[in-house]
Symmetry: C2
Subunit: 453 residues, 2 copies
């Protein structure tokens, strides 16, 4: 089994204890703080090579607009486009290839995602902080949002649902969608079908960092947006982080390769755990599938199951390389397992134990959590209702996944009555003096003079 990608574990002081199925394992109690720091580190950004390349693409799109996009379609997507988008009639024609079963599955996903995200949209109460001083927050949709839907080898209609549904619930007035063209100059039928489900009747045939640049700066055909959402390869991600730090266009979050951490104890089912590890591993060779297990017996049985299931997996080659980039940690207790997990800060956390309710309160860092033996990550990837756009690469320490919150601003309001300005005015005058800001003081004083008349 190819272990050459496994650089972070090979530099660890505590050598892996071995283990089959390409998964080295470690005993938690043998690991030093430095060992753990090395194990949980991943995706350290080589940064500048990609940066220079992507900055060139951004500058070209900013300068040359649509014509740069048509050039890149030819160069990167190997397709000569007549025009940069598909309209409603074309989408309808393409979408007609979606079978009734597939339509029903997409509608189930849509309904569940809609129901969960709709519940996130709440109005807030007004708070009277002092008599006559009332403060509150109101939601406003971000007006113009851009959704990047990856294409090429991995066409992800599920991602389109995960971004389009909260954008619609938030009430964004303009939703720009970019997805790379296939060789035939079109998008995949599922993408077309989801666009129509969402009431979106135009999809731009633009991929890669050039799509991010087009949505950030605008071109003749593509509207400049206020915030860009969606996963992509390292070029898309780099373009998003550059855009975020050089323009006023926001991004959802940085994105790295997908990952899962499974905490399992003696009540876990090895066949299920193996299936979950492999579901993550088939995403790409840079995916990580980490098992943290209190039972050596379950860990060993899981390794056997991984081998067995790999044998019949169509994407086995990819999964095998991702598994080689993964590892198992054996702990004495579920608390220790959770401690390791919080240091790893996983995108997806599966609690493969019947005792999940005892350790849930100890979760500090995770994107989305799957509870018990009957809740695979797959259900959240597609249809349980939660969002699958989640913080990877330990970003779950500080970031949440995408939700309706990601598509709105919360604007604060305050209103003072005459009583309010009398009550709060003297404190504000003193505070403004403390900061040496006389005009700040005066803005209160002129009003107090009047209200005291």
């Amino acid at each position: 089994m190819d272990n050459k990608n496994n650089s972070q574990t090979s530099t660890s002081k505590a050598p892996p204890l071995g283990g089959g199925g390409g998964l080295p394992f470690y005993k938690y109690s043998d690991l030093s703080v430095a060992d753990i720091a090395r194990l949980v580190q991943r995706n350290v950004d080589p940064a500048n090579e990609i940066r220079d390349l992507v900055e060139g693409v951004i500058a070209n799109v900013k300068q040359n607009g649509d014509s740069a996009l048509l050039d890149y379609a030819l160069k990167f997507d190997k397709v000569e486009l007549d025009k940069l988008y598909l309209g409603k009639a074309e989408l309808e024609e393409i979408a007609s290839a979606v079978s009734p079963d597939q339509q029903e599955a997409l509608q189930t996903a849509y309904a569940n995602i809609y129901k969960f995200h709709k519940a996130q949209l709440k109005t807030e109460d007004k708070v009277e902080t002092m008599p006559g001083v009332t403060c509150w927050r109101e939601l406003r949709a971000i007006e113009k949002v851009g959704l990047y839907i990856p294409g090429g080898t991995a066409v992800l209609p599920s991602t389109f649902l995960m971004l389009g549904i909260p954008a619609r619930i938030a009430g964004c007035s303009e939703i720009v969608v970019c997805s790379p063209p296939q060789k035939n100059g079109k998008v995949n039928a599922f993408i077309a079908y989801v666009a129509l489900m969402l009431g979106i009747d135009k999809v731009y045939l633009v991929g890669g960092s050039q799509a991010v640049a087009a949505m950030a700066y605008g071109t003749e055909s593509i509207t400049k947006v206020d915030k860009i959402f969606g996963p992509g390869n390292q070029f898309v991600t780099k373009a998003k982080t550059i855009i975020q730090s050089t323009t006023t266009t926001a991004i959802d979050m940085p994105a790295g390769p997908s990952e899962v951490l499974v905490i399992a104890d003696e009540t876990a089912k090895p066949a299920y755990v193996a299936a979950d590890l492999l579901a993550q591993a088939e995403h790409g060779i840079d995916s990580q599938s980490i098992l943290v297990c209190t039972s050596q017996v379950i860990a060993d049985a899981t390794i056997k199951e991984v081998e067995k299931q790999l044998a019949v997996l169509p994407r086995a080659e990819i999964a095998r390389q991702a598994i080689a980039n993964s590892y198992i940690v054996i702990t004495d207790t579920l608390d220790e397992a959770m401690d390791f997990s919080n240091q790893y800060a996983p995108e997806h956390l599966i609690l493969a134990t019947e005792k999940w309710s005892a350790i849930t309160p100890k979760i500090i860092n995770a994107g989305s959590v799957f509870l018990g033996n009957l809740t695979p990550e797959s259900v959240g990837d597609y249809a349980s209702g939660t969002n699958h756009t989640l913080p990877t690469s330990s970003y779950s320490r500080a970031y949440s996944g995408v939700s309706v919150d990601s598509f709105v601003k919360k604007i604060t309001f305050q209103f003072l009555t005459e009583e309010g300005i009398k009550n709060i005015g003297p404190a504000v005058e003193i505070l403004a003096d403390m900061e040496g800001l006389h005009a700040h003081r005066n803005a209160v004083s002129v009003r107090m003079a009047k209200s005291q008349n």
Copy 2:
């Protein structure tokens, strides 16, 4: 009056109509789309000169830790420090200089800010998206946060309250505070007093981009944090955006110079409007104070009041330059005024009109809003309860101000029963097939086989 800073208006096709007090004014109906675009543009980032400098500071701090910080204290703050922080006893000694009146004012601000922010902390209901499929979100505090409190000429205890209170409400387990040392190697008494109010017993004497670097990478004394908050000069801001795009440490938001947009009609009070414009202008020469007014009479009277109030203002020189960087737009209606405001996307929006309730629903982009003639921005800057850490430079199109939300993650959870996996399984199997992800399908199939036994 010095108009040389007023570059964005001088390039506008529609020439300013004149106006006194250094405030050029424009008739909204005369402005083209391009004119408006030029008027609302501000703070275009020259980027790379500052970037190179700040990248050098970050690299040095990453490499040399505390010793780099001590060097920078000598170089930038002109003070030789014995140690990098003040402890509890030192803070108490420094804080004893705060007078009872000042203590009371700080306590009023604390109480109001606490009350408003506490109401933001809510638990969410569980949602059963399908029978047996339950989804919800739980809040978790970001574990380690860093607060940057500016010092030097503008010491801002109010900013410390605005960041420290929501961090405490969220329950962050570690709050690292950095503030530049004064010439005497200490912090200002108000900063020390606020630290103690917040239960923070250590303040690091580190300022500028080196403080951001220290909190992002950690040093011998300073803990690496998950998210960095706080305003600062252009070096601090550049360091934050670099950190955000090159590490997993998040930031609150990018920050530019402060700004206010006042919408006024014939019911506005010129003396109050002038006071509000000047309160903004005294912040710094790059601040902007925009007046959008439906009444030429009120606009003219406001200009006269600006001149009158400027005459007695201690920071008149700064305010005068900021005013020279500002302008007035005359509109026919409040709707037009709001339309301009939404395009400007102000940090602070004051509705100086008795008809504020009619136009509030039309607000799309703003950071914080002040309603009616008795609600100056100053009250929100200090004590109404709302947060004053707000999106500037048109970032309010996509960003919200700081709140308790900024200090927590919302983690999604899902739990399936046997009925749940039976209900949702078939749809997930089809969706996984559509994306060609067989192992995703299998993670459901293995569980369905079992649950159908």
